[in-house]
């Protein structure tokens, strides 16, 4: 038991970036030669080839007609058989919505618990993951023998660049039966046509639950207008209907990378951060000095946004005169 399986995921026809990051995380757990990158689906040749060009160890295609489209029942059945055959020490996943959907149940089949959403791996090994919505970090350890299941958070590990040798590719065909699959997934769809493209905005003023009420949003709008910036928001603001959903930044909204991102009254939960971490300059305004948003901010102001945001609007006006 020394092998490491890394379950790679594709999106939009390519291996998703977070899967390369999972592969990098796996290299902290053991020798590259022991790592097997796994692609799952109905027709996996193309993805396997893409992985083989970059994977350090081996590549394994888990292929069956019933693995397309994705269903938790299908993936659990297939990967259970693979894991039983390989008897790995570790199974590593990217922490995607799909992985959250099935990996906890897969681990439970082996009497194990997925150590989810890991941000760092240190000696022993200890796995760091966020607690209290990112306000604290916990160090987790796997107890006893048995397979260790781990999923890694987006952006936590630097994806490896191409390897010099092309890895060998093997095929694994699980035994599956249509009756095993109890859910019937429909085609993915988008809610409505997007009319704002936050992705190309140069400046964004983004507002979170610290704004307290819908009426107060106007102070954010004034600052944005004065700066010539777009208005964006964290999820609870859009859930409440205070701003349209297309202005939501984060894992279930838009990904932005402006020159300036001002986050006012946003705590900095990981699902928000993944959507704006790439901004060139981040300004955080929050009354809580320990808010996780300050961990990624270039400039921080601790205080009441109801006072600071209007003061900022005035200061920008003065500077522009």
């Amino acid at each position: 038991m020394s092998g490491i399986l890394v379950v790679m995921e594709q999106r939009g026809g390519r291996i998703a970036r977070i899967s390369w990051e999972a592969l990098a995380a796996a290299q902290r757990l053991g020798d590259s030669a022991n790592i097997t990158a796994v692609v799952v689906g109905a027709q996996t040749e193309v993805f396997a080839a893409e992985v083989a060009a970059r994977a350090p160890g081996k590549v394994l295609r888990v292929e069956h007609a019933l693995l397309l489209p994705y269903t938790p029942d299908g993936y659990i059945a297939a990967l259970q058989q693979l894991i039983q055959r390989e008897e790995p020490a570790y199974v590593v996943f990217p922490h995607t919505y799909q992985v959250r959907d099935y990996a906890p149940a897969l681990a439970a089949r082996f009497g194990q618990v997925l150590i989810s959403d890991v941000t760092a791996i240190s000696e022993v090994p200890l796995f760091a993951r966020q607690l209290m919505q990112g306000r604290l970090s916990g160090a987790y350890r796997k107890l006893g023998s048995g397979i260790c299941f781990v999923s890694v958070q987006a952006g936590a590990f630097a994806a490896e660049s191409a390897s010099s040798v092309t890895a060998g590719v093997d095929l694994f065909t699980p035994t599956m039966d249509a009756a095993q699959i109890r859910t019937r997934p429909g085609e993915p769809y988008r809610a409505a046509a997007q009319t704002v493209d936050l992705g190309s905005a140069q400046m964004i003023v983004s507002v979170g639950r610290g704004i307290k009420s819908q009426e107060n949003i106007s102070i954010i709008q004034e600052l944005a207008t004065t700066l010539g910036a777009e208005v964006a928001a964290s999820r609870p603001i859009c859930d409440a209907g205070w701003l349209p959903m297309e202005r939501q930044v984060g894992s279930s909204g838009q990904t932005v990378a402006p020159k300036l991102y001002i986050a006012a009254g946003i705590s900095g939960a990981i699902q928000h951060l993944v959507g704006m971490k790439g901004s060139q300059c981040i300004v955080a305004i929050n009354k809580d000095p320990d808010a996780p948003i300050f961990e990624v901010a270039d400039y921080g102001i601790v205080g009441d946004l109801m006072e600071i945001v209007p003061a900022l609007t005035e200061a920008v006006k003065a500077a522009k005169q």
Partner: protein, 256 residues
């Protein structure tokens, strides 16, 4: 339809948290607690289904004495009755251990549908519901915003990444993990608060549920997160801070 909603009581997100002396959990003494946000949406979705199709909404919560206040809140909002699994080691039970407790209590009830939140605000495992489904041998769908009942079971709206959605058809009984924001939460009325006091609240001791597996994962230590950037903190009155920031945006960031 008989619907069980698993509700966790978590530290109120507005209140600062401190690491306890042992470095193994947070100081609970001076904390305030609240209903886990996605669980509130799970409760609402259960009540919408009951309003439409009839049946019963049963709240299930595991935790120490204090969780009774959150259970009462759920009952005041209209849940019919509640089950409280009494246990004092929430922070140190792993997700499988917690799911085993919940599953054992659910088995006694034989529900048509089990709803959990998709993630707890304190531990944030994001997996208890999925494991409960596995232990009960039921189909499961996660990140659900909306549930419709039909002849062959339920059709649910699932959130995907980056603003995409998907509908999924499941047979009943089933387990769903509910995402925040799919419905609008109702408030407890005065009448509801009054009636909550008369509703059944059944207590089960964790030890009576006959699940005693040792944890397979342990939380060794709690730390403050590491900064990824060196942040320039700007101080002063709001006016001073605003002026300083604008100056920096001009001279260092070149955006004004």
């Amino acid at each position: 339809m008989k619907i069980i909603v698993a509700i966790k009581q978590v530290p109120d997100r507005e209140v600062p948290v401190r690491i306890n002396a042992a470095g193994k959990w947070i100081e609970e003494a001076d904390l305030q607690f609240a209903m886990n946000e996605p669980d509130a949406h799970a409760l609402e979705e259960a009540q919408l289904l009951k309003d439409k199709h009839g049946g019963e909404v049963v709240v299930l919560s595991a935790g120490p004495e204090r969780v009774a206040t959150t259970i009462r809140e759920a009952l005041a909002k209209g849940a019919d009755r509640a089950i409280h699994i009494e246990c004092d080691d929430l922070a140190h039970r792993d997700a499988l251990g917690m799911a085993q407790l919940l599953a054992a209590a659910i088995r006694l009830e034989n529900p048509d549908l089990v709803l959990t939140g998709l993630q707890s605000e304190d531990l944030g495992m994001g997996q208890t519901g999925v494991i409960v489904a596995e232990l009960l041998g039921l189909p499961c769908a996660t990140l659900i915003l909306h549930v419709d009942k039909n002849e062959s079971g339920i059709e649910v709206k699932r959130e995907l990444e980056e603003g995409w959605f998907q509908n999924i058809q499941l047979p009943l009984p089933a387990v769903l993990t509910i995402q925040s924001g799919g419905n609008k939460l109702r408030y407890a009325t005065l009448m509801g608060i009054k009636r909550a006091k008369t509703k059944e609240l059944r207590r089960l001791a964790a030890t009576d549920l006959g699940v005693a597996s040792a944890p397979v994962v342990s939380l060794e230590q709690i730390l403050l997160p590491q900064k990824q950037k060196s942040t320039q903190m700007i101080t002063g009155t709001p006016r001073e801070a605003a002026a300083t920031l604008v100056e920096r945006l001009k001279t260092e960031v070149h955006v004004i």
